[in-house]
Symmetry: C2
Subunit: 168 residues, 2 copies
DNA sequence: GGAAGATTGTTGTTGACGACAACAATTGCC
DNA sequence: GGCAATTGTTGTCGTCAACAACAATCTTCC
């Protein structure tokens, strides 16, 4: 079922089939994308939507979204980071990180500790509760990753990670 | 360097390096992502952001965003489609497509023609101006695609398209 | 040592986008 | 002929990226 793509570009162009309206019912599966096939951005966008939806669903019970997971993972692996450091590392704006941390702090998963070295900044840590929660999140994330494998194949997933390793 | 994924889970944890704050200046490039590396979703998200930004910049002079481009491409290749058909094909909601078409119609690139076969629906067409404009957009999109090649390599781009072909 | 400029966290706004819900007009079905 | 489904539209809500402005604080430079 997944192997049925990658043609489509070389089908006889359906151009100007209809004068001012479709005479026949169009099945929406048989619409030629033409130039759209072959655009990396389009494929990546569609895939990203799919993968995020599966992540959100798989971690739906614990109510954790991909960005929240990435923030907790980075803090868990590097306790004491400032908000700027986390934002820069994850490529999110510090303005946005404020709300993310507000939410995570309300849920007692993360805490902001005033840094004594630089009184402008906060040192970010997971709470004890946050540590055990993150462990559970990681198990669910691993399950999500298996869904990805099931979707595109184990070796394709690894090739993908290899190709995109420069963006992490 | 690109082969360095898929371990990550088994590195000695740098946990608890800092008591309540970073003693040393952290360079934000040397922050361990640990479990984040190895997550397909994270890599794909970062890549998608990069690729969209390049697309928007490359087509900045003509003020066309990726979604607008995809809509015009589909209409150009399949004149007379209804809004539902386009929405379903591109995976966008029909509610959202309304605004996209409003914008494109104001710019005289697309026109909605009342279908006589089904008076509920509109047959979508490019205007003459839209046709020539789309040709220019496609040239710029091809230039963008070359940027992608330059970023990840020609053969990696093609492998990527192959892997994700099922999502187009 | 003090003024000038940079950095950090915060608040706010804007716009693109996905997800829903409701609605009128129209079509298809039984 | 009547009732469910479809199509386009309008609206709301929440997520997210991109900016801009601001107070507090640090750094730099004279």
């Amino acid at each position: 079922m997944t192997a049925s793509a990658a043609r489509a570009d070389t089908r006889l162009s359906p151009r100007k089939r209809a004068g001012n309206g479709p005479a026949r019912r169009i099945d929406a599966d048989e619409i030629g994308l033409d130039a759209l096939v072959g655009h990396a951005g389009y494929a990546v966008r569609r895939f990203q939507i799919w993968i995020f939806q599966d992540f959100i669903k798989t971690l739906g019970d614990v109510d954790i979204r991909p960005t929240q997971y990435s923030v907790m993972t980075v803090i868990g692996a590097n306790p004491g980071l400032s908000q700027m450091a986390v934002a820069k590392r994850l490529g999110i704006e510090r303005a946005r990180l404020v709300h993310l941390l507000d939410s995570l702090e309300q849920r007692k998963l993360v805490k902001r500790i005033k840094s004594k070295a630089d009184r402008r900044s906060h040192a970010l840590h997971l709470t004890a509760q946050g540590e055990t929660a993150l462990a559970k999140f990681k198990r669910l994330a691993a399950e999500h990753e298996r869904h990805v494998e099931a979707k595109i194949g184990k070796e394709n997933r690894e090739r993908l990670l290899q190709i995109l390793a420069g963006f992490t």
